[in-house]
Each structure stands twice: as C-alpha cells, then as structure tokens.
C-alpha cells in the first residue's frame, strides 16, 4: 500500500512533464492528460484510504536521499489516517476542479499551461501530504508556494495579477523562513528530520522546554504564512486575481490547508509546549473573528469567499490550539468540500455573468442558473454550520473542544463568528441570486468579448452606483439577459458532487458513531505506536454524544445571522448596502480590511526603507570605499604593468631578448663554471 502512494504522488508530475515537454500545442489532449493522471491518483488514494480504514496505523517507507557524514536525509512516504484523508481530499477536489476547468478555461490561450501547472501543483501538494520528514515537507512546501505563484499570476499580462502573485509569494515566503528556522533548530538538537523521530525525541525530553516552544512557534509561523493567519493573511484576498478554479483548489481546499496540516503533522511539538498551543488557539480565534468581520463589508464575490476561507482556517487553528486535533482535521476535510464548492459556484456565476465580480451588479440570478444557485445555498449553509450540513458537525466539534479546554472567551468568539459567517454567506446569496437585477448590471456587450481573459476584479464601494457610473438602461439589461443561462454540465457536475459531499460528509463525524471520524483520526501521542492511547481515544469518542448546549448555541447564532441577512438583504430594492448606513464609519474600516495592507506599506516605507537607506549609505560610502580603495591600488599596479603590454609584438620580442642578453651576461661573467657545464666546451 505504501508503494501505491508513490504512484499517487508522481502521476500528476508525469502529467506536468508530459504536457510541458510534449503535448503543449494540443489543448484538449493536455487537459485530458492531467485529468486522467489526477483521476488515477484519486482512485489509488481511495484504495489507500480503504486499506487504512481496515487496518489503521502508520506505515512508513523511505529511501535514502542524501548522506553527508552524520546527516541522513530521506525521501519517504508516511501514511497514516491523517495523510490518507488528505490524499483523498486533495485528489478529489483537484479532479473536480480540473473537470470544471475544462469549461472555465476553455477559451484561454494558456489552456495547456494551466493544466500543466495544475498537475505540478497537485504533485507538490500530494508530496507535502505524504512527506515523512521535515526537510522533504519543506521542499514540497516551497514547491506548493511556487505553484501558487505561477497560478495566481496565470494571467501575468495583467499587472494586478502579477503583483498579487508576487505578494502571495513574498508573504508566504516570509512564513516559510520561520518553518526553515524551526527545521534547523530541531535538527541541531536532535540530529534528525524524521517526523516520528523528532516527536519521540521531544516526548523523551531530549530538547529543552524553551527550544520546544521556539520550534513550535516557528513552525506555526510557517503554517500561518501558508494558511493566511493574522498577521500574514494579507496575501490570500489578493490571490483571487488567479483563475477561479485555482482559487477553489489552492486557496480554499488544499494549499491553505497545508498550514493546518503542518501543525497537525507536527502536533507532538505543540502538545509539549502549552505556551505554543495557547498562541495557536488565540491567533486562530482572532483570525476567525477578524476575517469574518471583514467579509461582511466586501463587495467582490471572490473576496467574500476568500475572507471566509481565512476565517474558517482560523477555526481550524483554534481547534488545534485548544487540543482538538480531531476537530481541526475534520473541519479541514469538510471545509475543503464546501469552500471549493463556494469558489466553483462563484466561478460559475462569474463565467456566465460576463466576468462580473461585484455582487452589487448582480441580483436575481436564481432564475437563470438554478443548479448553481442551489448548490451555492447548500455550500453557504454548510459554511455557516447549520444542522445537518457538514460544517455543522466539524464546527460543533471545534466548539466542544474549545469549551473542554477551558478557553471560554475563545468559545464565545467562535460562536459569534458563526453568526457573522451565516450573515455574510447569506448576504452573498440574497444579493447575488435573489431580489431585483441590479440597475448597474453589465449589459454584456462590452464584457462578452474578453471571456477567457477576465478584467481585473472591481472592488468598489458597496452599491456600484457610488462610483458614479451611470445606470445601465433597462433595455440593455433585457438584451443582456438573453445571454444568461446555466453553465454547462462539466461545470454543474462538480458542483453537484461537492454539494452532495457538503451535505453528507459531516455524518462521518456524528458524535458517538462507533467507526466515526474521531476513532480514525486522532492524536495518539508521540511515535507511531500508541496502541493503548488509541484504544482509550476510541472508547472516549464512542462514549461522547452531542454537547447539547453547544448545538443549541451554535445553531441559534447561525439562524440569527441568517435572519439578519434576510432582513437586511432579502427584500432589498436597490443595489446599495444598507449595512453601510447602519455601521457608518465602522463599515468603512471593515471595507478597507482594517487598513492592514496600508499599515504594512506605511511600515515598510518608513522603517524598512529608512533602515535600508542608512545601510545603503554605509554600503555606498564605507564598504564601497574600502572595496574601491583596493581596486584603485590594483589599478595603479596594473597601470604600471600595462606599459609593457602595449600589444606590439616587436616590443615583446625586444624585452625577451634583453632578458636573454642579461641571462647570458650573468652566466658568462658571474657563473663561468656553470656556463662551462652547460656549454660543454671542446675536449
């Protein structure tokens, strides 16, 4: 079974190589190659998961990669329930997104390139999932970051996309640096990169407590970069410049979950350091609330979903920080389904609605795209966490875990965020799918030709009219409506599959289920064994039922949020956000995402650039002075020697023969004996 995992990982890479080296000119073929490869990977992943379900436990297979004296670096595969779940989630979402992409990217000139990158990304993500040591994971971690860069900047002719790609890369790279430091720290103390050995070493107390905390926090810093946790969250909303399927795959279901996965994979570190757990929990909780408040004031459909993603990732981190290993991973899985669905649904709307992304230019789309609308509503309910959708079960588990850990403040933050989540999700649903068509809706004529090359996302003031654009005439809108229809089957099929999963996936985590999620994926302490701990966890999980107060609280908050959304947006007549008037200046702050980007820019401009200017002065005047002094000295010496190098062969020959003359003179008049020995003389 472990050897199958190699195939799972390398098939998408094979697709990438095949497309980029051979089949790039053949668009359709290139698409099918990736879909076929990822499909095969999916089937194999399911086989691995079934095997894992039948015989739970960690299996490892490694191959010596580098051996430098005492340093041994392996390239290995580590399969355990956590990895098996992730494999299936990644390959499934990747497969669905790629099927979807055949329609979404159908007109794009970079179609083959797109699928090649998708293959490369899937390969990197799967490699990250199965990695059995820190260094290997780091390699794939960076590869994933590279793919993210390539795909966000897919439409690189667009300056905003190129800038967003750069931003994403730099910000996540910032976090990666922390991860790298953590790896070096652990290696320095324990002399190994292997996850199991490191966890064992930490459990045996071979690492000072301070080092454990430092390593855990550094790992978390890396995870925060990839998972867009505050304060490194700024790249994710900008990453929406990429094609929507990319957002669905990378920035909703898989890559951003890599941070959560990393924390889960190295959980042994965190449980050994209470301080780091606390940091993880509070950063997660804060991010969840923070991003949710921003989401309620956004007007770009993809950005709303993006902030929702950040918020949900915050939930997962909070769960892990509160000791809810199972809850965090479970939410990671269910979230992958409904968030991918949200993005794909948003993409379906964008694709059919003249590449418009501003929700205030939409409205009443339910009539034209019923499947998209219904699946989006399912996803919104799942995201909000209403019984019996998938999000309910995982979010409920998180809240229970937080409650059991005793962080009551976090518990209420979590509950209140659930209200906000329901509110912003249904704000989106009501504004986009119901109510009257916006008077600012695009007429379609000017937008239609650039399908496949969408224009930059228009993030404007809520209520498109605020930008002073004239309303489009009713006649033009009626004309445009004739072009409106449901997306093709390759788009709606993945939507329906994901909607189905968003409904049923949660039931696996039904509390008290004898073979539920909790008895499959759990943290069993250090090392690969832990048979007794496993039995205990299984028993504990089987005994637990619903935590009724939490169920009631969370569902109450969700319904309240839903109701609020309906009151504000369900019966609106105009394309303007009533919330802006209610909240006043607060709304402006939210709309500008708390000015975090502006703060970063200000900070960089004043402090980083200032420091750089000082260093530049030192470099230019002192360091360069020394360097130039040495250079000038050598130039002087060279200038003297240069007199001899005048390029005129006869001068060279002259110098040569003068030297011969000197040599002969010395021989004859100073060394007659030597001369006699050389010349021999007549005997």
């Amino acid at each position: 079974m472990v050897n199958l995992a190699w195939w799972v990982v390398f098939l998408p890479l094979l697709a990438f190589l095949l497309i980029s080296l051979v089949t790039r000119p053949h668009r359709k073929l290139s698409g099918w190659i990736t879909i076929l490869a990822v499909g095969a990977s999916f089937v194999l992943s399911v086989a691995i998961l079934l095997d894992m379900l039948a015989r739970p436990g960690a299996r490892e297979s490694a191959w010596q990669w580098l051996s430098l004296g005492p340093v041994h670096v392996e390239l290995g595969v580590l399969l355990d329930p956590l990895a098996a779940i992730m494999l299936v989630v990644v390959t499934l979402v990747s497969l669905l997104v790629q099927i979807y992409s055949t329609a979404y990217m159908g007109e794009d000139p970079g179609y083959s390139r797109y699928f090649a990158f998708m293959g490369l990304f899937t390969f990197s993500m799967l490699g990250l999932v199965v990695a059995n040591n820190y260094l290997e994971m780091y390699v794939f971690w960076e590869l994933v970051g590279l793919c993210s860069y390539l795909l966000i900047g897919f439409w690189y002719e667009k300056p905003s996309a190129a800038a967003a790609a750069k931003k994403a890369f730099v910000v996540t790279r910032f976090g990666d640096f922390g991860f790298l430091l953590a790896i070096l720290l652990l290696f320095g103390h324990l002399g190994t990169f292997n996850f199991g050995e490191v966890a064992q070493g930490v459990a045996d107390g071979r690492l000072p407590a301070a080092a454990v905390t430092a390593a855990a926090l550094l790992v978390f810093f890396g995870a925060a970069g990839k998972s867009a946790q505050f304060p490194l969250h700024v790249w994710l909303p900008d990453a929406m410049e990429g094609p929507t399927p990319v957002s669905a795959l990378i920035h909703a279901a898989t890559m951003v979950a890599a941070g959560v996965y990393l924390v889960a994979r190295t959980y042994g570190l965190f449980v050994s350091s209470a301080a780091s757990l606390l940091v993880v929990a509070y950063i997660g909780g804060f991010t969840a609330l923070f991003a949710a408040t921003i989401a309620i004031a956004q007007s770009d459909i993809k950005r709303i979903v993006a902030y929702s993603t950040i918020s949900q990732l915050g939930y997962m981190m909070m769960a892990l920080g509160a000791g809810g290993f199972t809850a965090g991973v479970f939410h990671l899985m269910t979230h992958a389904f409904f968030k991918a669905l949200l993005f794909l649904g948003a993409g379906s709307v964008i694709l059919m609605y003249f590449h418009e992304q501003n929700i205030w230019r939409m409205g009443g789309l339910y009539r034209y795209m019923k499947i998209t609308a219904i699946t989006m509503i399912v996803a919104a309910l799942a995201n909000a966490g209403l019984f019996p959708f998938a999000g309910f079960f995982s979010k409920d588990e998180i809240l229970v875990a937080v409650k059991e850990s005793g962080h009551l403040g976090l518990y209420w933050i979590g509950a209140f965020t659930a209200l906000l989540t329901a509110f912003y999700m249904f704000r989106l649903v009501f504004v986009v799918f119901f109510g009257p068509r916006s008077e600012f809706s695009p007429s379609g004529h000017e937008a239609l030709p650039d399908i496949g090359n969408p224009r930059p996302a228009q993030v404007e003031a809520p209520g498109a009219g605020a930008s002073g654009e004239p309303a489009v005439s009713a006649q033009a809108r009626a004309e445009a409506d004739k072009h409106l229809h449901e997306s093709p089957a390759v788009v709606t099929l993945p939507l329906m599959i994901l909607a189905f999963l968003s409904i049923v996936a949660g039931f696996w985590g039904w509390p008290g289920l004898s073979h539920g999620f909790g008895s499959f994926v759990f943290f069993s302490g250090a090392g690969a064994g832990g048979g007794a701990a496993a039995e205990a966890a299984r028993a504990a999980h089987a005994a637990a039922g619903f935590d009724w107060p939490t169920v009631i609280v969370s569902n109450f908050f969700v319904l309240l949020g839903l109701l609020l959304a309906w009151v504000l947006y369900g019966r609106r007549r105009r394309a303007a956000d009533p919330l802006a008037e209610i909240l006043g200046p607060v709304f402006t702050v939210l709309e500008h995402k708390y000015y975090v980007d502006e703060f970063y820019l200000w900070f960089i401009r004043h402090f980083v650039d200032g420091g750089a200017a000082v260093l530049a002065w030192i470099d230019a005047n002192i360091v360069n002075g020394i360097a130039n002094g040495i250079g000038a000295l050598l130039m002087g010496i060279g200038g003297l020697l240069r007199l001899f190098q005048n390029g005129w062969v006869q001068r060279y020959a002259l110098i040569f023969f003068i030297a011969v003359l000197v040599l002969v003179a010395v021989l004859v008049y100073r060394e007659p004996a030597l001369t006699a020995a050389i010349v021999g003389g007549a005997r």
Binding site: Q650, R651, L654, F657, I658, V660, L661, V664, A665, L667, V668, T675, A676, V679, G680, G681, A682
Partner: protein, 189 residues
C-alpha cells in the same frame, strides 16, 4: 699554412661574405623586394656552407626549400600586399625601438662571441676526417626511415596541418561574397 687550408679559408670567406651581405641586405634595403632577393643570396651562401661541411644532402635541401619555396612564396606575399611605390616599403621602426634593438643584437653578438671563444679557443681546429666510403646521405636516409621514422612522420603531419591552416587563414572570410568573380561565373553566386 698550406694551399689547401688557404683555399678552404678563401672559400669560407666568400661564402661568409655572401651570407652576411645577404643578411645585411635583408635588413638595410629600402625596397622589400630587394630585401627578399638579398635573402635568397644569403640562403645560397648557407647552402654553400653546408657543402663545405660535407653535408651535401642538406645543401640540396637548402636550395630546394629555401630558395625554391620560401623565397618564392615570400615574393608572392610581397606582390599580394604591395601598394603604390615599392621604394619605401622596408623601413625601420621608431628610433627608440631601433636603438634598443641594435644594442640588444650587438650586445648578444659580443657576449656570445666572447662565450664561444672563451669556451672553444680555436678548437677543434680540424674536423676529424671521415672514413673512406662514408655516404652521409645514405646514412641519413636510413636513419630517417628507421630510428627516426616517428619524428619524420610527425614532421610530415605538421607540414600538412600547417598547409591546411594557412589555406584556412588566408582564404576569404565569406566564400562567394568577397571572392573575385571568375569569368563565366558571373551571376551565379
């Protein structure tokens, strides 16, 4: 001094005059073509020296190669590079280099002559007589084709390479472009 010695001394003096005069002519003639002719005379003198040293084969080779080949291709080279008046084609360089060059050559002459005369003071005055029936050319031929066969072959390869290299260097850079058009070839390119 016997007549025989006097005769050989006279022959040597004549040949030395030819050699040194020819050499000086190469350096001091103003017309490079005259210098080349002068050089041919110096080569002829050297060939005579070889004969006087009983190196008959080398003397023949000297005439064939130096006068027959080298002097002729130098004459060709002069023709190919000539332009305008030939009268001032063989001038000296700038005075500084000229003075230093003259000093160096003279100094080397003095130093080496002193060295030679001090090490071999008039000795050996007489060359050992060759045994009767000695055929140096035959011995040389046998040596070249037996013991020295490998260097001989290498020298042959060297000549071939040098010839090919010379052709490669001297031909026009862009065949068909800078080439002089042959009659009947016009318009082909």
């Amino acid at each position: 001094m016997s007549t025989d010695q006097l005769g050989s001394l006279l022959v040597f003096a004549g040949l030395a005059f030819l050699v040194v005069g020819g050499g000086l002519g190469v350096v001091f003639f103003r017309n490079v073509f005259h210098a080349a002719v002068s050089m041919a005379f110096a080569f002829l003198g050297v060939a005579g020296i070889y004969f006087s040293l009983q190196a008959d084969f080398l003397g023949v080779i000297q005439v064939l190669i130096y006068i027959g080949a080298v002097a002729v291709i130098i004459a060709f080279a002069i023709m190919l590079t000539r332009r305008g008046d030939m009268a001032e084609t063989n001038r000296f360089v700038s005075p500084g280099q000229l003075a230093l060059g003259a000093l160096t050559a003279a100094g080397l002459w003095v130093a080496l002559l002193g060295l030679g005369l001090s090490q071999w003071p008039g000795q050996p005055a007489q060359a050992p007589p060759l045994p009767a029936g000695t055929d140096l050319t035959l011995s040389l031929g046998q040596l070249l084709l037996s013991q020295m066969a490998l260097p001989f072959e290498i020298a042959a390869v060297l000549l071939l390479v040098a010839l090919v290299g010379a052709v490669l260097i001297a031909r026009e850079d862009h065949p068909g472009q800078g080439r002089r058009e042959q009659p009947g070839e016009v318009g082909k390119s």
